[in-house]
Amino acid sequence: MSESNVIDEHINSGYDAGFITDIEMQTFDPGLDENVIRKISAKKNEPEFMLQWRLDAYQQWLKMERPDWAHVKYPEIDFNSIAYYSSPKSQEDAPKSLDEVDPELLRTYEKLGIPLHEQATLAGVAVDMVFDSVSIITTFKEKLAESGVIFCSLSEAVIEHPELIKKYLGSVVPINDNFYSALNCAVFSDGSFVYIPKGVKCPMELSTYFRINEMNTGQFERTLIIADEGSYVSYLEGCTAPSRDENQLHGAVVELVALKGAQIKYSTVQNWYPGDVNGKGGIYNFVTKRGVCHTDAKISWTQVETGSAITWKYPSVILLGDNSVGEFYSVALARNAQQADTGTKMIHLGRNTRSTIISKGISAGKGSNTYRGLVNMSPKAEGARNFTQCDSLLIGDQCAAHTFPYIVSKNPSAIVEHEATTSKVSEDQLFLCQQRGIDPEKAVSMIVNGFCKSVFKELPMEFAVEAGKLLEVSLEGSVG
């Protein structure tokens, strides 16, 4: 057997989260116009300012063009064939506690291994569950409220905390930032909202679990996290979707605000349905994530991206305040026909700002993995530093890895370091493992885990283990 055979032999692996929940849904007809936006807003009993904001975004979006610079190929998306709102019928009158939530929904999350009952959860993780267009329930709300932490669905925040929404929504990712974020502003249906008061260290991990279930439905959620001065929060998001033959669109926006001296640690384990071996089906994941760091603040993005047919995602940090710190740790896997174009932007505006970028791209099968990053040192970024390390690992000989590091330095005192490597899981390595009794699948997973180690150690403990396992499942069958 030749090397490529060895590696390709069982390249199609299982996708454990691919089941469909059979539940009565209320879904808008496909199509997008002002009327649809008014209907979404009305469903959520939104105040007038929110509706106007949406309509403004819609008008701007109409004038924008779909970006085509990313290293991904996909057919034209017909935005009128997508339904923009879908909610389980049972959510009509929002359940107040877990006991009131439709058991079928609870079973869905249980099957996905998401802790539900507050008594039976992972040690201290509060969860917001978003199912298609709506937030089902947020756990531990009362407990968090004791320390002044607000953790709720974005829809609820719009009504309960309009002053925070008015001040911060769209403050990091402006309405007209890009094509997909503008669309999100117009039609976003739900998401999570977090506010950590001054000086508070959030007493537990917060997490949101996104699930797309309904057919032909787009999921457009937004997350807004505000860490007030000197506070700390660690937040994790997870995502899955059923295995469907049609492509589905996910266009999220995440905004992080770290005020003076605050720290936000944002981790993502993205496992949207990646499509089958031939590239049929799978989620198109077009996401805008950005945070702003005020003086002495720190934002750290960690992502493990194993899913989606297409990933288009560049979690970024605007280092506005002096001495602020931005970090980006990423593992992105592209196998079968998956295409990932992901990376980060570190915009250094303040003095002595520092950023670190560690990107690990793994390509297998016919997967294509692109790192795209920008490090921008503005004229005022006196003494700023960046360190970037970009490593690519190839499994088999039909996959591809690309690296596009852009560096703009307008301050002579700023230092930018960039290291890049490309390596292959070689036949020799596999044979060494086999000769020591290790079967090839375990060997690949061991080698890949070793490759990702420096990123996994940035994840919260429980999730590091989970991420390792996820990678193992995703790689199952990458060799023979």
Binding site: M1, S2, E3, V6, S423, S426, E427, D428, Q429, F431, L432, C433, Q434, Q435, R436, G437, I438, D439, P440, K442, M446, I447, N449, G450, F451, C452, K453
Partner: protein, 257 residues
């Protein structure tokens, strides 16, 4: 233990092994010598089951089992160990993790109880000392940035941990300084036992000064052209291979090791 009969093998459609016979009994040490390109590494790769090496004729029996039908990892679990002529690096996978995974695979197959983390560490430290590698090497990536000699000693470390029944060592002595050679030889001698056999592929007498072979075979152009006792190695050291290359002095098939 190992019985190779009339073995023919091709690599990329090129015949490299051309009817090879060797029999190794339990407890024996065999040395295989021969000019560059004669097929020594090919033989070790065929025995270990590497891809792209196709056997076209002949049989290989290992403890009575048809070795050639087993997957490489199954051969390893049955007790066949190969120390590579050119050990590869596996960056990011620590030596410790590698050894542990490997040992667990073997023990599981052999129905032996798995070692606890503490027992394993103790064993690993002990064996490190035997091959004169600092225990820091356990934390480093497999062969990652190791010097040539350290890689070879690392292979011996693996052999000492796994305690195979048939040890194939492909030029493990090449590129070693005098002290390292002694370490490798000590490692081999430490494992010698009545039910464990060794096949040492080497170009030099100096290893055989430390590890006395029971038999020495000369491999030329894919065939064993001469076999003898340990004195044959000395003769080769003196005369080279040219006197054997002109033709098979003895019919290879009639050799009984």
């Amino acid at each position: 233990m190992l019985k190779i009969a009339n073995l023919r093998a091709t690599v990329d459609d090129k015949e490299i092994l051309k009817g090879l016979n060797i029999e190794v009994k339990p407890g024996e040490v065999h040395a295989i010598m021969g000019p560059n390109g004669s097929g020594k590494s090919t033989l070790s790769n065929v025995l270990a089951g590497r891809d792209n090496y196709h056997t076209t004729d002949g049989t290989v029996l290992f403890e009575g089992k048809d070795l050639l039908t087993l997957a490489p990892e199954e051969r390893a679990r049955e007790g066949v160990f190969l120390a590579f002529q050119y050990p590869v690096e596996i960056p990011g996978v620590s030596n410790l993790e590698f050894l542990k995974t490997s040992l667990e695979c073997l023990h599981t197959h052999q129905n032996k109880p798995l070692l606890s983390a503490v027992e394993f560490m103790k064993l690993a430290r002990e064996k490190c000392k035997l091959v004169d590698l600092d225990t820091d090497f356990l934390k480093r990536g497999v062969n990652e940035g190791f010097s040539g000699g350290e890689k070879k000693r690392n292979d011996i470390l693996q052999m000492l941990m796994l305690e195979p029944t048939l040890c194939l060592l492909d030029e493990t002595d090449s590129g070693l300084d005098i002290d390292a050679l002694k370490v490798v030889a000590d490692g081999i001698n430490a494992l010698r036992s009545p039910d464990r056999s060794f096949v040492l592929i080497t170009h030099y007498q100096r290893l055989l000064d430390y590890v006395q072979p029971d038999f020495v075979h000369v491999l030329v152009d894919g065939q064993i052209v001469k076999s003898g006792g340990s004195e044959l190695a000395l003769e080769l050291e003196e005369k080279g291979y040219s006197w054997l290359e002109s033709g098979t002095e003895q019919p290879a098939n009639s050799l009984k090791a």
